[in-house]
Symmetry: C2
Subunit: 127 residues, 2 copies
């Protein structure tokens, strides 16, 4: 079974990983935070929190929201937001390329499927 | 402020990221699961769960536990476990090298410190 790789940027002002990038891309695609949240099966509350978190972490906003209120108006990425997504995607591709032999090796030493695996393998230990 | 990068291997049998790698390294360093847990400020229960999760995900164990019971005996990495750690570290270094210009760029567009950010704090220790 295929192994893959994800990258996460760490910084004291906030981490940027696959979840936030997926939200940015969904906002770019759908033109609204609520539609982006729905498309990711995420609550609007959670999406809004992540948008505020990201806009606060950067010196300038990465998501613009238009007049019309939180649910009424549209949303989109600023040029800075577009560049964050592009640079994340580029890093992800370069990292995947570098990891290729290790991913193939992992596929040989990991079981095909544990059958009962839930989220145990997807969450790192806290702390 | 410095930006950094973490990688995570994804696979249907389980993901391997910085948290599990830190635990493997701590077991290797301390020679016991309970000492490893303490050194990572992790509950023994959590560490044991992760050990079982990893040993189940791989075709062969990555952590060996010696006779003497869960708390009484020692623990260490098998050769397979050593190789998992080495390959993760190599991937991490290669990915960081590829990401270098993007990390420098991020440092310029992210605030020095938001003061109230908590999201970045959910990352596991780097080990």
């Amino acid at each position: 079974m295929p192994a893959d790789l994800r990258v996460r940027f760490l910084h004291p002002s906030g981490a940027i990983g696959p979840g936030k990038i997926a939200l940015l891309e969904a906002i770019d695609r759908t033109g609204s935070i609520s539609a982006a949240a729905r498309s990711l099966d995420m609550t609007f509350r959670r999406a809004w929190f992540l948008v505020e978190t990201m806009n606060t972490a950067f010196r300038e906003p990465v998501i613009r929201t238009s007049v019309g209120g939180r649910e009424g108006g549209g949303a989109g990425l600023t040029p800075l937001g577009q560049e964050v997504v592009a640079r994340y995607r580029q890093t992800q591709e370069e990292a995947r390329k570098a990891a290729e032999p290790h991913l193939r090796w992992l596929e040989g030493v990991l079981k095909d499927n544990t059958g009962g695996e839930t989220d145990a393998g997807t969450e790192p230990p806290a702390g």
